[in-house]
Symmetry: C2
Subunit: 330 residues, 2 copies
């Protein structure tokens, strides 16, 4: 933080709100704060909570980093989408229950700083590109495995948004047109195989068919309690069945990643989400499936790696969004 200028990065999720002060040139994030989102209290509650966190962060960052108050350049917001960047409006977020919600201007007016808005998956990808696994790479695809599967695209050194800010819906890529039913209503979306709930559902199916495993014991016999995290824990405990479930997950994910590589020929794919804790149980079969399905030239020029920044990626990337809109490409 050479000159003390910084941008507030806000990562708004369905579960929690993370806020930090991100130095203009990157580096250590100051004053990090986090609170649960609690969207059931309504939109005003969430906005007030965001504003409070931002004010706390500005105060703390000044204390921690010896920052001048007027060096807060503005606020970058990462929010679930779809959204419209030009107007700063969240068009719809099922998780938060918002529709056509002018989030950017509400925050900017309440805090008294200018703000910019992008979607959370783009922000996380941008964060990993600027300060994390993707530093120095020209084109990369971020894939976040969670309750859903999100994505972000950095192409030729810039975030690619598409014509209506709706690009990078990686989770709803069809990999098996007559396959598993997805929450979106279609069949065979990547998300129906490799999201957290899909991993848990596939694990349960095998257990119900009688596969031997530590998993039932880990959830005291209540298979509904199994999550993707339970599967990862079981792998660490040496469970062969759980490792099989992860290998199968990796094959589905590898099919989707191969599609991304054949289409976009990126230098890197960054995989984020709790499932990366499975380590080589995920990445080895994933890379192997990609080698089978992607063109050699494209596969050989693409590294497939885990994210480095964890939850910080969203905060750092949200700040980067503001910087890019106001000050040009990183």
């Amino acid at each position: 933080m050479e000159d003390g200028r910084y941008i507030i990065g806000v990562d708004l999720g369905g579960t929690s709100i993370n806020v930090g002060a991100v130095p203009f040139e990157g580096g250590t994030v100051l004053g990090m704060r986090s609170l649960p989102t609690e969207p059931h209290h309504g939109a005003k509650f969430v906005v007030d909570r965001m504003v409070g966190l931002i004010q706390d962060v500005i105060r703390d960052a000044r204390r921690e980093g010896d920052l001048a108050a007027d060096f807060a350049l503005g606020i970058g917001l990462g929010s679930p989408g779809p959204l419209d960047r030009a107007s700063g409006t969240v068009i719809e977020t099922p998780n938060l229950g918002w529709r056509n919600f002018p989030l950017r201007d509400l925050i900017a007016n309440a805090v008294g700083l200018e703000a910019e808005l992008d979607n959370d998956a783009n922000a996380a990808t941008l964060g990993e590109w600027w300060q994390g696994a993707g530093r120095g790479v020209r084109s990369l695809v971020g894939v976040t495995l969670g309750t859903g599967i999100g994505g972000g695209l950095i192409l030729d050194g810039e975030v690619y948004h598409g014509v209506s800010d709706a690009a990078a819906e990686i989770g709803h890529m069809t990999i098996d047109s007559t396959g598993r039913k997805c929450n979106c209503g279609n069949y065979g979306c990547l998300e129906a195989y490799a999201s957290g709930p899909a991993i848990a559902a596939r694990a349960r199916e095998g257990l119900e068919a009688g596969a031997p495993s530590l998993l039932p014991e880990m959830v005291a016999g209540d298979l509904e309690q199994i999550t993707a995290a339970t599967v990862s824990e079981a792998i660490v405990a040496g469970d062969v069945y759980a490792a099989d479930v992860m290998r199968e997950t990796a094959k589905f994910l590898g099919t989707g990643v191969a599609n991304l590589i054949n289409l976009l020929n990126p230098e890197m794919i960054v995989i984020s989400g709790g499932v990366t804790r499975a380590g080589d149980h995920l990445f080895e079969p994933l890379r192997s499936e990609v080698r089978k399905r992607a063109f050699r030239e494209a596969a050989e020029s693409c590294r497939i790696v885990a994210n480095e920044l964890g939850d910080m990626a969203g905060v750092i990337g949200a700040a980067a969004t503001f910087r890019i809109v106001r000050y040009g490409p990183l």
Copy 2:
């Protein structure tokens, strides 16, 4: 052709070589010439034939358009790939039997004009964007259905090549991971369902199972003679079975196109190739499948249209490649 400056566009295919003089600012292509490629005569034969065509076109264009000889700015080459644009080398083309072939410099030296190289599918997409169906659009995806399925990407006003010039391999997008075997060795590639040979193969399968149709009569009982063009002709003649085959093709293609839309949120998808002659028999079920599988925001902002320039797209786009490399974005 206001100032008489032009670029020679060369579209090299496995079947034919098309060459024309493309005005710097676009507009009517002059001196168009075409000859079969005849790659079995070897690389030298093909290069000599290309050089001869280029020289003929320069002479004819001057005559037709009253062009000054020194207004030929250079040569744009579209070739099957993969290739390396920086070195102007064709890395491999199974159709022509070339490997690591320095096409750009061989042509440039023989003609005495500078040259640039890009792959044929990128060139065709660029042509449609500059002068055809995609005029004025910011981001589009070109999909060419032929013996294989090729593609090109124009993203935010520029051709997107990827990190090793290997982007836009649309034909090998997996849409059905356990589906039909593709020539590439994998299963369930779009090309295994919607390329010309795949359409013909699916038509034959139904006929062998006893479907009533005009098709067998049209090929005098020799089902091996059925091509995608025969299927299109049968549709025009009112054949219900052929229309079913095309509807099924459109559904597969629609799955692939929906993936492109969910991932890239383009303003337009331009479909090229003989199969577009099926008109609404292709486009209606294609659009319907896309509406089912793509996100609403992204689907609503994307027009799905047929190409406008036919074979000229490759020539015009090849010339545009030269213009962009030497003079900046269009």
